[in-house]
């Protein structure tokens, strides 16, 4: 097998997005399920895949309607306590060709309800590539389930086949999980944060900044303890969207519930973070002063650099960041990024161009390229960021930076550098 393919940031920027090398275009080669990135390769595999995401509504249960192979790895979630909330309607070979199972779904819902000693808030009906191909009308199926059982049903589309569509599975499931919200009186001092299935880190500055701007209640689905708290999300005056995959959900909430939204991006460059807060302030008619948070974060980075030096990093994509934006930020803070394992898209090519200006020799790999089977770690790396980068650089200091407490804003910078500081200290102690 050929050596792991890479291209420098300079080479990639010069080629332009239109001339992406074949190895960086996943539609042109077989896909390598690198052990480093299994959660990325399958929309149901790990972390908040479609299955777990579908269960983020408090009190919900899930019926997975699929051949056995699609539900096999669900056992991974049993360790997280989801056993009692998953049910399976297994399809056989005749089912997947004829679609006859669709008529059995309401009966299966009734069957699973008979097993429970409580009434779930909703039955999430999780469907797979089979239904993507058969074109199953899930809205109609959900109605039929409600008519038979009296319990609401909502679809969770685990359509790996449509991963690169305008509305990919993780976008669709976000739309689904907010679909049960119903119109009610809205309050000017309440807002939602959309984008992640778990909450922002408690220490994120966005909470006190919004409070100072008069927002007394900020709701996130990851903090909802019961269905009542979830239902209260439709009281919000506006929503802040922190992940573009939640855009369709926010648009739906705007249309159905009249809740407008403002879209921000998770970034790690201090000037851009400040700029976003300024724009957010303008949108909600308040001045959001983040200068103290920025100064403190920059001070921490300076201290980190003084302590550990101008480190060389490898940055992956299994992490709570855009690999290229984070790499650009690290470079601007005076560090070096030697390697990035990431997926180049139209959206983040902007960062590739910027990176080419300040770090032209940064090598860019695709985790999905079959040549990554033969990847050899570069000795120059001091520390790795991202679960995949840590996998490739076992033995080096590293942070996965993919935890469930979501980093955002200047708190995100703190979390990153605090984690790196700890990892580097531990590595030093081991020596």
């Amino acid at each position: 097998m050929a050596e792991a393919f890479y291209i420098t940031a300079k080479g990639l920027a010069e080629n332009g997005f239109e001339k992406l090398p074949r190895e960086l275009d996943s539609t042109k080669h077989l896909i390598y399920s690198s052990p480093a990135t299994l959660d990325f390769n399958s929309p149901g595999a790990k972390g908040f895949g479609v299955k777990r995401a579908g269960l983020v509504i408090p009190g919900s249960v899930m019926l997975l309607i699929a051949p056995g192979c699609c539900g096999r790895n669900t056992a991974l979630l049993s360790e997280l306590g989801y056993d009692e909330r998953f049910f399976y309607l297994l399809l056989d070979d005749t089912d997947i060709v004829t679609g006859r199972y669709v008529r059995k779904i309401p009966e299966a819902c009734a069957g699973l309800l008979a097993e429970l000693d409580y009434t779930p808030s909703v039955i999430m009906l999780c469907v797979t590539c089979v239904d993507a191909l058969l074109g199953t009308d899930m809205e109609r199926v959900c109605r039929a389930c409600f008519e038979q059982t009296g319990v609401k049903a909502a679809p969770a589309y685990m359509y790996a086949l449509t991963r690169e569509k305008r509305l990919p599975p993780m976008g669709l499931v976000r739309k689904s999980v907010y679909s049960l919200l119903e119109p009610q009186k809205r309050y000017s001092n309440e807002c939602n944060i959309l984008g992640f299935f778990s909450a922002l880190d408690d220490g994120c500055e966005i909470y006190p900044m919004l409070e100072n701007a008069g927002i007394k209640k900020v709701r996130e689905i990851g903090r909802c303890k019961d269905f009542g708290e979830y239902a209260a999300m439709s009281r919000a005056n506006f929503s802040i969207v922190l992940n573009s995959e939640a855009r369709a959900a926010a648009q739906d909430m705007q249309e159905r519930l009249g809740i407008p939204f403002i879209e921000l991006t998770r970034m790690y460059r201090a000037d851009k973070i400040e700029n976003q807060y300024r724009l957010l302030g303008q949108a909600i008619g308040a001045e959001l002063d983040c200068s103290a948070y920025r100064a403190a974060a920059e001070e921490k980075i300076k201290a980190f650099r003084k302590k550990h030096g101008a480190l060389t990093f490898a940055v992956g994509e299994s992490l709570n960041a855009d690999s290229f934006e984070l790499s650009l930020a690290l470079t601007e803070y005076g560090f070096r990024v030697a390697e990035i394992y990431g997926t180049v898209g139209e959206r983040n090519f902007f960062y590739v161009r910027k990176l080419a200006e300040v770090s032209p020799e940064t090598r860019i790999y695709s985790n999905l390229s079959p040549t990554m089977m033969n990847y050899s770690p570069a000795p120059e790396i001091d520390a790795a960021i991202g679960a995949d980068a840590c996998y490739y650089h076992t033995g080096k200091a590293g942070v996965w930076f993919n935890g469930e407490e979501q980093p955002f804003g200047f708190r995100g910078l703190d979390m990153l550098f605090e984690g790196l500081d700890k990892a580097l200290d531990e590595r030093e102690e081991k020596k």
Binding site: S26, N41, A45, A75, S78, F87, L112
Partner: protein, 338 residues
């Protein structure tokens, strides 16, 4: 409802079984899917993924590939890999996607051979059946295609068929070889610490030991083709002392049978049951093939068992069982090594 699982999660499917057999053969294996099935195989059903490299890839199908039946694109992608490696063969493993759109896997096999010049085997798995079905298919096709030459028999050489992590919970062959080394000089576990070369030389084996039902069809082929005798058995199971009375063993059939022999020597009366293949010629009267969750709860309810040996995942179906439960991991069920 027969197909509704309320307590268990799905067992390892046929595509995982096929991949498990092919894993160490040195070929290029392509799972004909969109990515999710490959994620399940690599991230869950194939514990060797984190220990031993294998050229196992997803076809990365997208909806338009499936709708338009872009078989040529898949063959082109596969050919690209074969140009970059010296793999001796290619394999294509089916999933629900080609099953729904009725992909002609046989044609895909021929197209691949023509384009790459390599032998190719396409396995018509569809993700709806269980792992042993996929293993059976893969073992049979491998030996059928590559074990062609009749070589002189090497006395003292034993071939083991069925040694996959899904059957044994082991990612290497050391334990199996150690258990058999007092009687055999050379032991080869096909597909576990051994590759295609050993398959090609299968006729050198003096005897075959089949340790799971999924290997029987291939063993019969080798017996017919080369006259190599085979027997069924499972060399690495142990039992705790002090078990007595009526015992139920739930596992793959040959493991269950081996455990039965040991328990019977302690005076137990043993029933073997399983959700996987239960071949009639290796069944005893009273052994049970389980098809649905309720089959097991009914068996437990009516069987009067004093002890149950089974994977811990079955524990959820044994609520109310008052006898002793002995955890007996089966990777194809619980996904845990032991």
């Amino acid at each position: 409802m027969k197909d509704l699982l309320k307590h268990l999660s799905p067992f390892a499917p046929d595509d995982s079984g096929a991949c498990s057999v092919l894993y160490e053969m040195g070929g290029i294996t392509v799972i004909c899917d969109a990515g999710g099935c490959a994620g399940n195989v690599c991230g869950f059903d194939e514990p060797r993924w984190f220990e031993k490299r294998s050229a196992l890839f997803s076809a990365g199908l997208r909806d338009m590939d499936a709708i338009l039946g872009r078989d040529e694109l898949l063959v082109r992608k596969l050919a690209l890999i074969t140009e970059q490696s010296d793999a001796p063969f290619a394999a294509i493993v089916g999933t629900p996607v080609p099953a729904v759109i009725a992909t002609d896997l046989k044609a895909l096999e021929r197209m691949t051979e023509k384009k790459t010049g390599l032998p190719c085997i396409a396995l018509k798995t569809d993700g709806t059946r269980l792992y042993d079905h996929g293993e059976e298919m893969a073992y049979h096709r491998l030996f059928e295609r590559f074990a062609e030459e009749k070589l002189p028999v090497r006395k003292g050489r034993l071939g083991v068929i069925g040694a996959t992590p899904l059957n044994t919970g082991k990612t290497g062959s050391a334990a199996i070889r150690a258990a058999l080394s007092d009687k055999w000089e050379e032991i080869v576990c096909f597909g576990l610490d051994s590759g295609l070369e050993e398959v090609r030389k299968a006729s050198e084996c003096e005897k075959l030991l089949v340790i799971a039902p999924s290997g029987i069809k291939a063993a019969r082929l080798l017996e017919e083709r080369f006259g190599t005798p085979f027997e069924a058995g499972y060399p690495i199971c142990g039992v705790p002392e002090g078990v007595s009375g009526k015992v139920l063993v739930i596992h793959q059939q040959f493991y269950g049978n081996a455990l039965r022999e040991k328990l019977e020597s302690q005076g137990c009366q043993v029933t073997v049951a399983g959700f996987f293949m239960m071949l009639d010629e290796y069944k005893r009267s009273g052994d049970v093939h389980l098809d649905r969750e309720s089959d097991l709860t009914e068996l437990i309810g009516s069987g009067g068992f004093d002890a149950v040996f089974a994977d811990e995942r079955f524990g959820r179906l044994l609520k109310g069982f008052e006898g002793k439960f002995f955890p007996c991991p089966h990777f194809a069920v619980g996904g845990k090594l032991y």
